[in-house]
C-alpha cells in the first residue's frame, strides 16, 4: 500500500512505468479560456488538456482561478472566450446537466452534501441519471420503480464498501464529522460512474491520517476504475506524489504545465510561490 506523503523511489519508478501504459488520449481540452466577472479577469487565455486515465493537478496561489477553472469545465460559469473539447467534441459552452450526463462528476471545496438526507440517500442521488422508472412506477412502487431502487442500492453498497463507510449508511450526513463528509461527497461523485472526476481541494482541513486515506482512495479509484482525476490541492507533497501532470495558474494565467518534476523546478513557479529577490 503506497502511503501518500512518502513514496519510496523504487515504488515510484514502478508506478511511473505502469502509469505510462494507463494514460491514453486527450479526454478534455480547454482552449484559450477567458472568464471575466465585470472588470475582474478570473481567467485569461488558459489552455491545457487532461488525458484519459491520468491524475491531473491544478495548483496555484489563492485567487489564481483554480476553482473558476473547474466551474468552467462543469458548466457553472460560461467563459466569454475559448472553447472546451470534451471527448473530441468542441463546445462553446457546457451546461451542468450536460456535464453530468457526459460523465463529469465533481466535489466542492466547502462540502456540498444534502444535509437533510442520510449517507445512503446522498449517494443514491448520484445514480439519478441511471434511473428510468416512470412517475407511476415510482408512486406505486411497482415494476422499475422498485427494481431500480434495489439494483442501484446494490451498486451504492459497493461504493460504501470501497470507501469504507458502510457503518454510517443510515446516518444523516449533517451529523458526520468533516473528514467523513468529504468521503461521502467523493462517494456521491463516484456513484455517477464518471469518466472525469473533478476534486476541489479534497484534502483541505484534514489531518495527516485523513489525508493519507483520501490519497489512497483517489489512487485506488484511478487505478481500479480507470477514472480520470483532476484535482485542486494546496498540499505540495500530495500533489507531487500522486499527480501525473500539474498545471500551475497564477492571477488567472497559465504559469506552467508539466510533470511534477518539471513544475517544481520551473523558475516562474518558484517565483510565484516563494518570491525571488531581485538583487
Amino acid at each position: 500500500m503506497a502511503t501518500a506523503t512518502v513514496t519510496p523511489p523504487r515504488e515510484a519508478a514502478e508506478r511511473s512505468v505502469r502509469r505510462a501504459r494507463q494514460i491514453g488520449e486527450v479526454l478534455l481540452a480547454v482552449e484559450n479560456i477567458s472568464l471575466r466577472f465585470g472588470g475582474v479577469r478570473a481567467l485569461s487565455n488558459v489552455s491545457f488538456d487532461i488525458r484519459r486515465g491520468e491524475i491531473r493537478a491544478i495548483i496555484g496561489p489563492n485567487g489564481a482561478g483554480k476553482s473558476s477553472m473547474l466551474n468552467v469545465i462543469n458548466g457553472f460559469y460560461q467563459p466569454q472566450e475559448g472553447r472546451i473539447i470534451w471527448k473530441g467534441r468542441a463546445l462553446s459552452r457546457m451546461r451542468p446537466y450536460d456535464a453530468a450526463k457526459g460523465g463529469i462528476a465533481r466535489t466542492f471545496q466547502n462540502i456540498a452534501l444534502f444535509k437533510g438526507m442520510s449517507t445512503l440517500d446522498n449517494i443514491m442521488t448520484g445514480r439519478i441519471l441511471k434511473m428510468r422508472a416512470s412517475f407511476f412506477e415510482q408512486a406505486l412502487w411497482i415494476g422499475r420503480g422498485k427494481s431500480e431502487e434495489l439494483r442501484e442500492r446494490a451498486f451504492v453498497e459497493r461504493i460504501l464498501d470501497f470507501l469504507e463507510i458502510t457503518h454510517i449508511r443510515h446516518v444523516p450526513v449533517g451529523k458526520l464529522p468533516y473528514g467523513l463528509q468529504k468521503r461521502v461527497e467523493l462517494a456521491r461523485a463516484l456513484a455517477m460512474e464518471p469518466e472525469l472526476l473533478l476534486l476541489d481541494e479534497p484534502m483541505a482541513g484534514m489531518n495527516l491520517e485523513e489525508k493519507e486515506d483520501m490519497c489512497r482512495f483517489i489512487l485506488d479509484v484511478n487505478e481500479e476504475f480507470g477514472t480520470t482525476v483532476a484535482l485542486i490541492e494546496h498540499d505540495m507533497s500530495v500533489v507531487m506524489d500522486i499527480s501525473d501532470r500539474v498545471v500551475v495558474l497564477d492571477y488567472g494565467r497559465l504559469l506552467a504545465d508539466g510533470t511534477p518534476e518539471e513544475v517544481r523546478n520551473d523558475p516562474a513557479v518558484i517565483e510565484a510561490y516563494l518570491g525571488v529577490s531581485h538583487g
Binding site: 451542468p96 462528476a105 420503480g145
Partner: protein, 354 residues
C-alpha cells in the same frame, strides 16, 4: 414497552428499504389502520365524524400535498388554499357541465387541472426562492379569491355566489351518511399517504430533497432544477386540488369562495410546520393538532367551570394557538414528527439512557 430492533436482521435490500423496517412499526400501523377502518366506525357518533374526523382526514391530505412541496422540495407556497379552490370548482363545473363523466373521474380530472395551474404558478420558482417565492404564490391566492368571486361562470351564475355539490355517487355507491363520507375520506387519505411515501423514497423524492438541501450540488449530479421544482408543484397541487374537492363535496356540501381563502393556506402552512417538514406522518400529526386543538381549547373553560363569553373563548383560542406555534418554532423546529422520532429512539434504548 418493548420496541427493539435487536434480533431483527434484514437480509435483503428490499427489506431494508421497506417503509416500515421494524416489526413493531408494522404491527403498529396495522393496529392503527384497523382502528381507523373498523374501530372508529363502531363507536363514533355523528358529531365526531362530521366535525372532527372528516375535516381532519381531508386537511391531512392537503397537508401532505403542501409538505411534498415545502418540506421535501423546499419551495414555500402560500397558495395551497387556491389550489384547493381550483380543484373544488373544477370538479363542480365538470359535474355540472359534463354529467356523463363519473364523479370519481371528475375528482381526478379536477386534481389534474389543479396540477396544471400549479405548474404555471410554479414557474416563478425557477428564478426566485424563499420569501420572494412565498409572495409570488400569495399572488395566486388573491387571484383565485378574485376569480371565483367575480367570474360568475365558475359559480354557474348563482346570485349568492355559493354553490352546492351534486350527490356523491361513486360508481353507484351513494355516499350520504357521515360514516360513508368518513370511509371515503379515509380511503383518499390512505391512498395519498402511500403514494406520497413511495414518491419520497424514490428517485423523484430524492431529487426534490436534493434541490431543497443544496440546489447547486443537485445540478452537478444531473438533476434538472426545472423538472424537480415543477414536478413538485404539480404533484403537490394535484393532491391539494383533490383535498379541495373532498373539502367542498364531502365536508361542506355547499360552499362559497371564502371557504378557500388565505386563512386556509395559512392553516395548512401551520400544519406542515408544526407536524414536521419533510415527514408524511408529520402531515397527519399537524392536521390533528390544528383541527383538534381549537375544539379542545373551546371546551376547556366549560369543563373547569369557568363561564366565559363566546367571543372571549374564541379570542383566547387564537392567543393560545399563536403562542403554541411560536413555542414550537423555537423548541422543536422539526415538529411533532421529530418528537415522535426522538421518542422512538429513546424506547429503543430503554431502559438505558444511551
Amino acid at each position: 414497552m418493548i420496541y427493539r430492533e435487536t434480533g431483527q436482521f434484514r437480509t435483503s435490500y428490499a427489506e431494508d428499504q421497506a417503509i416500515f423496517r421494524l416489526r413493531e412499526d408494522r404491527i403498529g400501523i396495522i393496529v392503527i389502520l384497523a382502528i381507523a377502518w373498523v374501530g372508529i366506525p363502531l363507536v363514533a357518533d355523528e358529531y365526531l365524524l362530521r366535525a372532527i374526523l372528516i375535516p381532519f382526514l381531508i386537511l391531512s391530505v392537503a397537508a401532505i400535498g403542501l409538505n411534498l412541496l415545502l418540506g421535501y422540495c423546499g419551495q414555500i407556497s402560500l397558495g395551497t388554499g387556491a389550489f384547493m379552490a381550483v380543484g373544488a370548482y373544477a370538479a363542480y363545473n365538470l359535474a355540472l357541465r359534463l354529467p356523463e363523466i363519473p364523479l370519481l373521474i371528475d375528482f381526478l380530472l379536477a386534481g389534474l387541472i389543479a396540477a396544471g395551474i400549479g405548474i404555471v404558478f410554479g414557474l416563478p420558482s425557477l428564478r426566485i426562492k424563499g420569501l420572494y417565492l412565498a409572495v409570488a404564490t400569495l399572488a395566486l391566492q388573491f387571484f383565485a379569491d378574485w376569480a371565483f368571486l367575480r367570474v360568475h361562470w365558475f359559480t354557474n351564475y348563482t346570485p349568492s355566489g355559493s354553490v352546492t355539490a351534486p350527490p356523491l355517487d361513486i360508481f353507484g355507491w351513494l355516499v350520504d351518511t357521515p360514516l360513508e363520507k368518513y370511509w371515503l375520506c379515509l380511503a383518499f387519505a390512505c391512498a395519498t399517504a402511500l403514494f406520497a411515501k413511495n414518491l419520497v423514497r424514490s428517485r423523484i423524492g430524492r431529487s426534490w430533497m436534493a434541490i431543497r438541501d443544496m440546489d447547486i450540488a443537485a445540478e452537478i449530479i444531473g438533476i434538472r432544477p426545472m423538472h424537480a421544482k415543477l414536478s413538485a408543484f404539480a404533484v403537490s397541487s394535484f393532491i391539494a386540488g383533490l383535498a379541495g374537492v373532498l373539502w367542498a363535496f364531502v365536508h361542506l356540501g355547499s360552499w362559497e369562495p371564502l371557504a378557500f381563502s388565505i386563512d386556509m393556506s395559512f392553516r395548512l402552512l401551520f400544519m406542515v410546520i408544526i407536524g414536521g417538514m419533510g415527514s408524511i406522518l408529520g402531515s397527519f400529526l399537524g392536521a390533528a393538532f390544528i383541527t383538534i386543538l381549537p375544539i379542545f381549547l373551546n371546551q376547556v373553560p366549560a369543563m373547569v367551570g369557568i363561564q366565559l363569553s363566546t367571543a372571549m373563548v374564541s379570542h383566547l383560542e387564537f392567543m393560545i394557538f399563536g403562542t403554541l406555534i411560536v413555542l414550537f418554532l423555537i423548541w422543536e423546529p422539526h415538529g411533532l414528527a421529530r418528537l415522535w422520532q426522538i421518542g422512538k429512539e429513546k424506547m429503543r434504548l430503554w431502559p438505558f439512557p444511551y
